[in-house]
Symmetry: C2
Subunit: 419 residues, 2 copies
C-alpha cells in the first residue's frame, strides 16, 4: 500500500500525540519532524530520532511530503513555513488559531490558487468535531448564533474560584503549578485565545469573513471572588463566554467576555478544562457539542482526523474536499459593542450619602434602563454601601453613559448577563 | 450552473422540510416526489403539484435524477425502491433507521459494487451531526463506548411522568393527542426505534457489523410512576438509554433499556424530545452531541446536508466521499445481556413473613451480589412490605437467578442503574 508522507513542524504536546496516534497507520507515515532542539528527551517509546531536523525547509522542500502539519502556533515563522509549503504543493493541517484569525484571508486565497486545502479542526475546541461538521453536514443551514466556552485555562480558573471561593490570583498560581496555565498566561486570561477561536468560528458560521479588529474582547482578570459569590446567590455562575450573533440585517456581533449564566443552563455546568459550543441555525435548531478542549490526545484526534480525510480523497482525486475549502469572498458587517443590547451585573461601592440609590435609579431611568435586582447589605465600616444591581436588557452605550454619570460611586465590576 | 436532480420518495413531515429547505438552492432541484395521494393538501406555499407522482419508478428509472431521497421508512417497499435506484446509478440519502439496521449489509454491498454512496445522517438523532463526524473527522479514533438518549417520544413520556408524577398510560395518551407519539406507539415505546439506531451507531463506531438479533431491547411500558418517585428520592432520573460498549477483547455489548441515571449526570437533564449522544474514544476522550432528535426542520437539515455533500463531490470526481462508504467486512462478536455486569434497582413486594429481608440478603450473598441501598417503608394495608433495593455491580445472570429464587416475592420492577 502506498504510504502518504507527512512532515510535521513542532513536537510539543500536540505533536507528540499526533506522532503516537499515527504510528499504527497503514497508509500514513510521518517522514520528518522539525524541532528546535534535536537532543531534547521525548516522551515516546523507541523513538527514531533520525526523523528530527531543525531545518523547516527539509520538510517544505521535500517533494515526497504530501501534507505539512503545523503545531508550533503563533504567526511567525508559522506563516512563512505554511505559505512556503502550499507553494510547494503540500496540503496543510494546522492547530494554529492565531494564524487563522490574523492571516485567514491570505492563507485560504493562497491555498485555493494552488489547489491545496488547509484543515484546522484542532485549532478550535481541541478534540470536539466542529469545523468539519459545520462545513459539511451542517452546510444547508443558516447559522445565526454561536455561544460557547472555548478556553480551557480560564474555565478551569473560574471553576476553581467558584468551588473554592478563592481569588483569581491564588487560583491562577495553582493552575500554573499544575500546568493548566502558562508562565505568561496573557493569551488565555485576557481572552485572546477565545477571541481567535470565535473569530474563525463566526467566519465559517456566518459565511463572511469576520475581522479580528471588529471582535470585542475582555478577559477574566478582573473577576473577583466577591462577584462569584454574589452571582451564586442570585442564581448564576460566571463563565468566559465567546459569542457570535448574526442579526436580521446580516450584521455580526462577535465578542468574548465574562458573563453571568443561569445555574439552570447547560453552559453553567461545563466545568474545568471542558469546552462546549452551542450552534443555533435553521433548519437544524440548536445543537451542542461538548468535550475536551485541549490536551495531547484529544487535540491529536482532530489533527489526525484531518490528515486521514486528506489522504482518503487524495487516493481518488486531485481536487479534494470541496466542502472544506474557504468560500468567503466578502467581509462581514459587524456591530460595535456599544451598539449591542445586554443585561448587566453591576457591583458598586457608593458613598453613603442619602439619596445615592435614588440617584442610581434616576440616572438609569433617564436612559431607559430598568433594574431587575437591587441588593444592598448594610453599611461597611468605612460607611460606604455595597450595592449589587442586575439590569434588564439595555444598550451598552447607555449603561456606559450611566456609569460615567455616577462619578461619586466606584464601579467594582460590570459583567454582562445571559438572556 | 448545472442543477443536480433529486427524486424524493415520501412527502410527510421530513420530506416537506427537505422540499422547503432546498427551494432556495442554486445547484440542486427536486425534480419528482413520489407520494401515496397526489390530492392531499400540502403545507407548502405555491406548491407545484405537477412534480408529484404515485409511481416510484418514475424516479427510479429517470436517468436525469442523480440522487434518490427516501423518507417513507420501513423495510418494504423502501428496499425495493432503494436497491432499484442504486442499480440505476443513483446515490441514496435515507432517513430509514429500520432498513439500515435490518438490511445494512446488503445495502452497502450493493452500493459499493455500483460505486454509489448511501448517506443517512437523518436516520439517527435527527438534526444532530453524528454519522458524518464519526466517519470523517473522528476516523482516527478507536471508539469504545456510545451512551445516549436516541428516541424523542419515550424521552418526552419519561420527562412528563417525572415532572407531573403521572402514570405511563396517562402521559402516553397526552403525547398521542399532541402528536409526540403515534396512534400505534409500539415502535417507540417498546424500544425498537432506539434499537435500530444504536445498532447502526455501534456498527460505525466499532468498525464491525452488529447484528440486530444480538441487541438487547426493553421499552418503557413497565416503568411505573412509583419507580420515578423512588428513583428521584434516591438521586436518580429514569431514562431510556441506548448503550454500546466494546470490551478489551473486542466484544460488543449493545442494548436499549430504561436506566436510572444520576441526577448530577448530564444525561439526566436531557428532557422532552431532545436527543443526546456521548461517544468515548481514544485519542479523543469523551464527546457529547445534544440537540433536536426529530422534527420537520432538524431532520431536513441532515437530509439536505447529505445531498449537498454528494453534489459538491460529484462536481469534481466520479468516486465520491470515500470516508462515507461502509468498510465493515466482518460481524461483531457480541456479549449476551446475561453475561453483562450492571447495578440494579429492584422494587419488590414481599409477604410480611418474618425473615424476608434476611432471605433476600442471603439469596443475594450466595451470588456475590452486594446491596448498596435497602429501603422498606412500613407495611401496607394488605400486610405486604414494599422493599426497594439498589445493588452494586453484579452479573445479569446472577440477578435473574436471585429473582427466580425469591419466588414468594413479587418483583414489581427491575431497572438497570448507571455506573
Amino acid at each position: 500500500m502506498k504510504k502518504y508522507k507527512v512532515g510535521m513542524i513542532g513536537l510539543g504536546t500536540v505533536g507528540t500525540g499526533v506522532y503516537k496516534t499515527l504510528l499504527s497507520s497503514e497508509d500514513i507515515e510521518i517522514k520528518k519532524i522539525v524541532v528546535k532542539n534535536i537532543n531534547k528527551k521525548r516522551d515516546i517509546a523507541n523513538f527514531d530520532e533520525s526523523i528530527l531536523t531543525t531545518d523547516a525547509y527539509e520538510v517544505i522542500n521535500d517533494p515526497e511530503i504530501d501534507i505539512l502539519v503545523e503545531v508550533i502556533g503563533g504567526v511567525e515563522p508559522a506563516w512563512e513555513y505554511i505559505s512556503g509549503a502550499i507553494k510547494n504543493g503540500k496540503h496543510i493541517v494546522t492547530a494554529n488559531k492565531e494564524l487563522l484569525a490574523k492571516k485567514g484571508e491570505e492563507l485560504f486565497n493562497l491555498a485555493e490558487s494552488n489547489n491545496r486545502v488547509v484543515l484546522y479542526e484542532a485549532a478550535i475546541a481541541g478534540g470536539i468535531p466542529l469545523i468539519m461538521p459545520m462545513k459539511t453536514i451542517m452546510a444547508g443551514n443558516k447559522i445565526s448564533q454561536i455561544r460557547g466556552i472555548l478556553n480551557g485555562t480560564t474555565n478551569y480558573i473560574l471553576t476553581k474560584m467558584d468551588i473554592d471561593g478563592a481569588s483569581y490570583d491564588d487560583v491562577l498560581r495553582e493552575a500554573q503549578e499544575l500546568g493548566y496555565a502558562e508562565t505568561d498566561p496573557t493569551g488565555d486570561v485576557e481572552g485572546f485565545d477565545a477571541m481567535y477561536k470565535i473569530t474563525t468560528l463566526s467566519t465559517i458560521a456566518f459565511g463572511s469573513r469576520v475581522k479580528l479588529e471588529n471582535v470585542y474582547r475582555e478577559g477574566i482578570t478582573k473577576v473577583r471572588a466577591e462577584d462569584m459569590k454574589k452571582a451564586n446567590e442570585l442564581g448564576y455562575k460566571i463563565k468566559l463566554i465567546a459569542l457570535g450573533n448574526l442579526d436580521e440585517n446580516g450584521k455580526a456581533d462577535v465578542r468574548v467576555h465574562p458573563m453571568l449564566v443561569k445555574k439552570t443552563s447547560s453552559l453553567a455546568h461545563v466545568d474545568y478544562v471542558t469546552n462546549s459550543v452551542y450552534l443555533k441555525g435553521f433548519p437544524m435548531g440548536e445543537i451542542a457539542f461538548t468535550g475536551p478542549g485541549a490536551g495531547e490526545f484529544p487535540t491529536a484526534s482532530s489533527v489526525v482526523g484531518d490528515i486521514i480525510n486528506i489522504v482518503a480523497e487524495l487516493k481518488h482525486s486531485d481536487y479534494i474536499l470541496p466542502m472544506m475549502r474557504c468560500n468567503h469572498d466578502h467581509n462581514a458587517e459587524t456591530i460595535d459593542i456599544s451598539d449591542t443590547y445586554n443585561k448587566y451585573y453591576l457591583s458598586i461601592t457608593a458613598p453613603n450619602n442619602i439619596g445615592v440609590i435614588g440617584k442610581i435609579g434616576n440616572v438609569c431611568a433617564e436612559r431607559n434602563i430598568s433594574l431587575s435586582t437591587i441588593l444592598q447589605k448594610g453599611l461597611s465600616e468605612d460607611n460606604t454601601a455595597d450595592i449589587t444591581i442586575i439590569t434588564e436588557v439595555c444598550k451598552e452605550a447607555d449603561i456606559q453613559s450611566a456609569i460615567r454619570e455616577l462619578s461619586e460611586c466606584t464601579i467594582d465590576s460590570l459583567i454582562r448577563v445571559e438572556g
